[in-house]
């Protein structure tokens, strides 16, 4: 606090002068606190020597920890004095050094890496924030206009992307791995679009979307395995069962608000997973369910080298058998499902139901005062969104052929939510872009192994700092009184100017 006041009092060409005494004091206290915290926690290791508990001192670890924490604090202080470029270079150096230096433990090495990156990130943010001549508000507005222009283009980008997605499997470079990645991407896009209804349109933070995905997958697997029903019968049934799950969850939960709501949905996701894990007789518990039938070609032909009681896909079209046929069929299946979800959501947005969702997101009290039954509207969002999750789940089951509760952890919900939030809540194209960034890039950079999760996190933080409302946060009106006279970006610009003039 003392430093803060000093900062504002003595400015020196835009940057505050360094007050070494205060810095020294702060660093000393940091070191002291670091010592207090690490002395016992890091400095002493208990070990079991022949039944006797002994303490092994690890003083080098303590020294490393204190030095790292103090240096980190120093970087942080320097950022407060806006010496951002210096801090950026130093922290990146620390990050680099973490690979070279002989750290006594992997934990410290990781801490050095993460800490270096984090401080570098903060430095970048400081640099951007304080770039002379750029006003944050002006920058935000310019960005909104850019997003609006992009959204405008999405009327063309959308169909182009669809055509591209259709010809994609026939491109020469597409091998098995790429088809798999493309299918995976489409699965997440579909889940993102499904969750977008709850989170993006209705504005409810659902942390347990994976529950519906799980219900869909298990419904399909159990129906198909125990009753020998075909995929084309099970798919709608799985959707209905997941929708029922959404409806049942919605009833008690939708009265809650904000954080409480989020926590209960999180709990619901976990409850579903734990039930699947423990109801051994029914779900197979941790062993999961295997031997889930693969989809046939619309019930006409099988994707098999030879079929005993039916005809195979290859025979039907008089071509040679190729295992790729099934993969490509699965790809088109998920593409069709995803496009269905997209079309329904786009349509819903222009209907009273969709507008009521958005109104609830904006202001639920005002919505109620206009005669909107909040519970019913939210229930509708939950039910529809859950059904889409269920469809995605049954596709997942049929594609994998094996499912277990492990596929439906909280991490999955978090990733789907990240896709929606990152893409810009409510933006369909945003979901596609975010999926490619979040799922596609890590898949492509699989060789980087554990660092890709680190990069994933850093990327998320960066984007959230850069565009807190999501990449494509611009909202396209669902109806226009005056039609599309000229591009929407111009309308936004006029609007922003008008708003500015009256302020």
């Amino acid at each position: 606090m003392a430093v803060e006041t000093q900062v504002s009092s003595s400015e020196e060409n835009g940057r505050p002068a360094l007050d070494w005494q205060a810095i020294g004091r702060e660093l000393f206290f940091t070191a002291l606190v670091a010592f207090g915290l690490t002395f016992v926690l890091v400095g002493m290791q208990t070990a079991d020597r022949g039944g006797e508990l002994i303490i092994i001192p690890r003083f080098t670890d303590v020294v490393y920890a204190i030095v790292m924490l103090t240096l980190g604090r120093f970087g942080y202080i320097m950022l407060r004095y806006r010496r951002a470029s210096f801090v950026l270079i130093a922290s990146l150096a620390a990050f680099g050094l973490s690979f070279v230096l002989p750290f006594p433990s992997l934990f410290l090495e990781t801490m050095c890496m993460v800490g270096g990156l984090l401080i570098a990130l903060m430095a970048v943010v400081t640099l951007i924030r304080h770039r002379p001549g750029i006003d944050m508000r002006e920058r935000d507005r310019a960005m909104d206009r850019a997003a609006a222009r992009f959204q405008e283009l999405s009327r063309f980008i959308g169909p182009i992307l669809v055509v591209f997605a259709i010809i994609l499997p026939f491109l020469p470079f597409m091998d098995r791995q790429y088809i798999d990645i493309a299918t995976l991407l489409l699965m997440y896009i579909m889940l993102g679009w499904g969750l977008n209804i709850i989170v993006g349109l209705a504005g409810l933070l659902d942390l347990g979307y994976v529950a519906f995905y799980a219900i869909g997958a298990y419904s399909y697997a159990l129906l198909a395995v125990s009753f020998d029903l075909s995929f084309w019968v099970c798919l709608p049934l799985a959707g209905v069962l997941a929708a029922l799950g959404g409806y049942l969850l919605g009833f008690p939960v939708l009265r809650l608000r904000g954080d409480y709501f989020a926590i209960v949905t999180l709990g619901f996701g976990e409850i579903v997973r734990i039930i699947l894990l423990n109801w051994y007789q029914f779900t197979g518990g941790p062993d999961g369910i295997g031997g889930i039938p693969r989809p046939s070609f619309f019930g006409i032909a099988e994707f098999l080298p030879a079929s005993r009681d039916g005809i195979t896909f290859a025979e039907l079209f008089g071509i040679d058998f190729d295992p790729m046929h099934r993969l490509i069929f699965l790809y088109f299946l998920i593409l069709a499902l995803a496009l269905l979800v997209n079309m329904v959501s786009l349509r819903l947005r222009k209907l009273p139901l969709g507008r009521a969702w958005e109104a609830l997101r904006e202001d639920d009290i005002a919505s109620q005062s206009l005669g909107i039954n909040r519970t019913n509207i939210k229930l509708a969002a939950f039910t529809i969104s859950a059904a889409f999750g269920g469809f995605a789940g049954s596709f997942f089951a049929t594609r994998q052929g094996f499912i277990s509760p492990e596929s439906f952890t909280f991490l999955e919900s978090a990733i789907i939510l990240a896709i929606v939030v990152l893409g810009g809540m409510g933006s369909q194209l945003g979901v596609v872009i975010a999926t490619i960034l979040l799922i596609g890039l890590p898949e492509v950079f699989r060789e980087l192994e554990q660092y890709r999760m680190l990069a994933f996190g850093a990327g998320m933080v960066l984007i959230m700092l850069w565009r807190p409302r999501g990449l494509l946060a611009h909202r396209d009106p669902s109806i226009l009184l005056h039609g599309r006279k000229g591009p929407g970006a111009d309308r936004i610009e006029a609007e922003q100017k008008a708003a500015e003039a009256t302020r």
């Binding site: 349509r347 209907l351 139901l353 109104a359 202001d363 005062s369 005669g371 109806i479 226009l480």
Partner: protein
């Protein structure tokens, strides 16, 4: 609306609202008519907004009966859930701190207000999803109604703007238009003139008088500006610390000694509005 004469619309009987130990409204009874503007006035914290919240179902009254008569049918508001009050009894309201759907466009705000009508027409979304012409037709009529009110409040040119980007005065009028789009029988306005400049305020008065004359509904108006109250209201109810201290024609209320005492004990009520207005604005700022 059958006749031009004033018919009873709302009857408030022995309304009491307690929050723990605090009695925000204490045994208040009054009546309001169709084709009349009933002003509710009183110092800060008198319980005016709380009265509106009881009427529109946001609070359940501790004691009392709120009866609305529309088309020869009685609705007991205190027994209805909030959304049904707007949907069936047709009470619409605005808020002291504007509550628009700020990231939706002006037109969309007015369409959300017609939600129930449109939802029924879209067969609860099914017909709408299929794009049936019956729904299109109703949607067009909803847009027409929105357009009617946009013309009324001079916002037609900005119909496709985000509501949150409008200037303050436009937002206030849009909120009234939005309430009118629910086709109400009773319109409750919570300080619609707060923060308006004199020109906007005069236009607002005309709008309210027009609504009273042409649409023929009843208006409950919370207003601090006494000159406005005197000019446009037909009937004034004065609250102070939750109790009703006066009720009657504007002239009579203005000279009521109890009312004068309640307003800071000053003799001259004409000077008060500004003081009170500042208070309100300060309070509103704090709330934001």
């Amino acid at each position: 609306m059958s006749a031009l004469q004033k018919t009873p619309l709302l009857e408030v009987q022995h309304l009491t609202m307690r929050f723990g130990g605090l009695v925000a409204i204490d045994d208040v009874s009054f009546a309001a008519n169709n084709r009349e503007i009933t002003a509710i006035i009183g110092p800060n914290g008198a319980g005016k907004t709380t009265l509106f919240n009881c009427l529109t179902g946001f609070y359940k009254p501790t004691v009392g009966c709120l009866k609305l008569t529309r088309d020869n049918e009685d609705y007991l508001l205190e027994r209805m859930p909030g959304h049904d009050i707007t949907k069936h009894a047709r009470v619409a309201r605005t808020f002291q701190n504007i509550r628009l759907f700020s990231r939706m466009t002006v037109l969309e705000n007015l369409l959300v207000a017609q939600h129930n009508k449109l939802q029924r027409a879209s067969a609860f979304t099914l017909a709408g999803l299929l794009g049936l012409p019956a729904y299109k037709h109703v949607e067009q009529s909803a847009v027409d109604l929105a357009r009617f009110w946009l013309d009324r409040i001079n916002l037609t040119a900005r119909a496709d703007f985000e509501a949150g980007n409008l200037p303050y005065g436009d937002q206030r009028r849009l909120e009234i238009a939005r309430a009118m789009c629910t086709e109400p029988a009773l319109l409750c306005l919570d300080e619609p003139a707060a923060g308006l400049n004199p020109r906007e305020s005069a236009a607002l008065n005309d709008l309210l008088l027009d609504i009273r004359e042409e649409i023929g509904i009843g208006i409950l108006l919370i207003e601090h500006d006494m000159s406005v109250v005197m000019r446009i209201s037909d009937h004034v109810v004065v609250l102070d610390y939750g109790r009703k201290i006066a009720d009657g024609e504007p002239e009579a209320v203005r000279n009521d000694p109890e009312v004068i005492k309640a307003y800071l004990g000053e003799e001259d009520t004409e000077e008060l509005p500004d003081v009170i207005k500042q208070d309100v604005e300060a309070a509103a700022k704090e709330e934001n």
